[in-house]
Amino acid sequence: MSVSIDARGPRWSAVITTVVLAIALVTSSVWLIAFQAVVFAIGALRGPQFTPYAFIFKNVIKPRLKSTVTFEDVRPPQFAKAIGLVFTLVAIIGSATGAGGVFTVAVGFALAAAFLNAAFNYCLGCQMYLLILRARF
């Protein structure tokens, strides 16, 4: 049985991620993307409940929330962080090699995913995992 976490945590983390990625896209800031890549890496490798955003959720946002707590499996948001990590790494490589278009497109996709999650409770793992499996085997 895998770990369960407060379902509101990943959703609020997606809100913060959306803001960070939006600023990075507007300012073309590779440093901000590098920071976000580290956040994604922590979420993908250790778990989404250990990121700085989860820390902000737990200490700043959660005490102010009145909605009832629902728990969810930690694996779907962890998968989403891994996808985010891939996009941000592609963006960093694009920027380092002078391919500004690659940076913009990769950050754009990461932003779209984070925004969809924050605004529409979009489940990236639901939509992408089977497609990845089907493409590989």
Partner: protein, 137 residues
């Protein structure tokens, strides 16, 4: 270099897609082609219902899969002629490909003969399941 064009582009497209995504989750879609493959008890792992069978495909990185399973299991409890089957998509990739399952959760609605009459992607509402089952004779 500051530009808001990529940001606006991403947010507009993602909002459009998100609205479509939210509206279509759980919606029962009638199968357009005449007859798909006939599923048997051996394939779905459960005896088929006398009138209908709901076959849910799930994966690990899928938050709404559990809610769907809880709902459908609860609904068939009070139905004598409808059965529910649950399949892990990852360990049945050949079947997933044959049935063209693209995302999880996907629930197939089979008639008494084990032929798919339609499917729903995402967590359906109770009323949507009732309506889909009512259309199967």
């Amino acid at each position: 270099m500051k530009t808001f064009i990529p940001l606006a582009f991403v947010l507009v497209l993602a909002t459009g897609y998100g609205l479509w995504y939210q509206r279509t989750r759980g919606e029962f879609r009638k199968k357009k082609t005449v007859n798909g493959p006939k599923l048997t008890a051996a394939i779905v792992g459960t005896e088929l219902g006398a009138r209908a069978t709901m076959v849910q495909f799930s994966s690990a990185f899928c938050t709404p899969c559990r809610a769907t399973k809880v709902l459908l299991e609860d609904m068939v409890k009070t139905m004598t002629d409808v059965r529910y089957a649950h399949i892990d998509a990852e360990s049945h990739l050949e079947l997933v490909r044959e049935l063209n399952i693209l995302s999880t959760p996907t629930t197939l609605f089979l008639n008494h003969a084990g032929v798919e009459v339609g499917r729903a992607m995402g967590t359906p509402k109770r009323a949507q399941v009732h309506a889909a089952l009512a259309a199967i004779h």
